[in-house]
């Protein structure tokens, strides 16, 4: 058997294993659906999330790290596209709920702003670069077979435990805007949408310029 045949053989093996896994995952999905459709939704959306991340090599760490480290902004621009599209989609959904006087969904994600946001961001940024994966990337790479990210996961869990215990202290000493800031409250729905999309477009333009500058 030559090398190319071996490769083909490996493909057949993994592909077959993939098909078996697919059937198993769907069976679990059906089981969960019978238990409660919402639970099946979480299951399937997780599978879809992992599948998309792996197939498109979408990596939030690379998006933040690569511009300074390698000069590439390809992933950064991908993330900016995702931010723009999600903003449009979310705003449409939220505005619909607002118009029909229902509770706007997902407003708990309008987080408070304080020194904890600043320090948390910096610490998380350092951590994800030296670990080579953020929360989603780590889970995705565990699925790809990286044993090292099991250790990252243990560290993540221990760090969370420590942070949970300091949360009270951060919140009582370093909070600036407790209720958070929902941009449409400041600029109106259309204004906030336009401003946010302009900022994303500006960053996109900067990313293109930055990469072009590296190639010179």
């Amino acid at each position: 058997m030559n090398l190319s045949d071996q490769k083909k053989d490996n493909f057949a093996k993994q592909f077959s294993a993939g098909l078996v896994l697919f059937v198993m995952l769907m069976m679990i999905g059906v089981f969960l659906f019978q238990y409660a459709p919402m639970i099946a939704f979480f299951w399937l959306s997780g599978l879809g999330f992992g599948y998309i991340l792996q197939r498109s090599r979408f990596c939030f760490v690379a998006a933040f790290r690569d511009p300074a480290l390698t000069g590439s902004t390809a992933v950064t621009r991908g993330v900016l596209v995702a931010l723009a599209l999600t903003t449009i989609g979310f705003t449409a959904v939220k505005y619909f709920y607002h118009l029909t006087s229902q509770t706007i969904p997902g407003q708990s994600y309008i987080a408070s702003i304080g020194m904890n946001t600043v320090v948390g961001g910096i610490i998380f940024g350092i951590g994800m670069v030296i670990a080579g994966g953020c929360a989603s990337g780590m889970l995705m790479r565990i699925g790809e077979g990286f044993e090292i990210h099991l250790i990252t996961l243990v560290g993540f869990f221990l760090g969370t435990m420590l942070g949970n215990n300091h949360l009270q202290w951060w919140n009582s000493h370093w909070m600036w805007v407790k209720e958070g800031v929902f941009l449409p409250d400041l600029f109106g729905w259309a204004g906030a949408l336009i401003i946010q999309l302009l900022v994303i477009a500006l960053l996109y333009g900067l990313a293109i310029k930055w990469e072009a500058k590296q190639e010179l």
């Binding site: 993994q14 896994l21 997780g46 992992g50 197939r55 610490i123 350092i126 077979g145 420590l162």
Partner: protein, 177 residues
């Protein structure tokens, strides 16, 4: 498997998607998730939940923390249900990635190379865990979902993530490569 079949399957499952394809699909997933679950995607709330649970079992922490744990244990049914869904989704991310890797025959069991690598991974994880638990989320919950929800906190978090990633990159060059 026949050669012809293999060729066809390869064409379907082997090539990577572009980042823009990934971005479009992730955004669709975000919007569907917001509509169905009434919340955007998030990952780390499940870690927080299990950390608090474990701490409750082990029985240590500040009084405020223990009150929180007790409350959680008191409201066990509801929270188990709610937070387990995020845990279930996280498990789905791992298995979805495994499925994708297998279908493309990209699955490789990669062993831990050295103690130094393990220590770095542990430290990186610790920093991420601490950061996400005080800043209410990770790249997904606080950044992606935060900005998507037009929350100023998402932008502030993103700016300092960028600064942190810059520092991390310097550390990487200085100590690890």
């Amino acid at each position: 498997m026949e050669r012809e079949d293999q060729k066809n399957f390869r064409r379907w499952f082997k090539p990577s998607w572009s980042y823009v394809t990934g971005a479009v699909l992730l955004s669709i997933l975000q919007v569907i998730t917001l509509i169905v679950t009434q919340e955007p995607l998030g990952i780390t709330s499940a870690f927080s939940y299990w950390a608090i649970r474990l701490q409750g079992v082990l029985g240590f922490g500040t009084p405020a923390q223990l009150t929180m744990v007790t409350q959680l244990l008191g409201a066990r049914e509801a929270l188990w249900f709610e937070e387990n869904l995020v845990t279930l989704r996280n498990l789905g991310i791992i298995l979805g990635a495994l499925l994708s890797a297998l279908l493309a025959s990209q699955f490789r069991l990669k062993k831990i190379k050295s103690g130094q690598q393990a220590l770095t991974a542990l430290l990186g994880g610790l920093l991420m865990g601490y950061g996400s638990s005080i800043a209410a989320g990770c790249n997904i919950g606080a950044f992606f979902s935060g900005i998507g929800s037009m929350s100023l906190s998402g932008w502030v978090f993103g700016l300092f993530l960028f600064i942190g990633a810059f520092i991390g990159g310097k550390l990487l060059i200085r100590f690890l490569i």
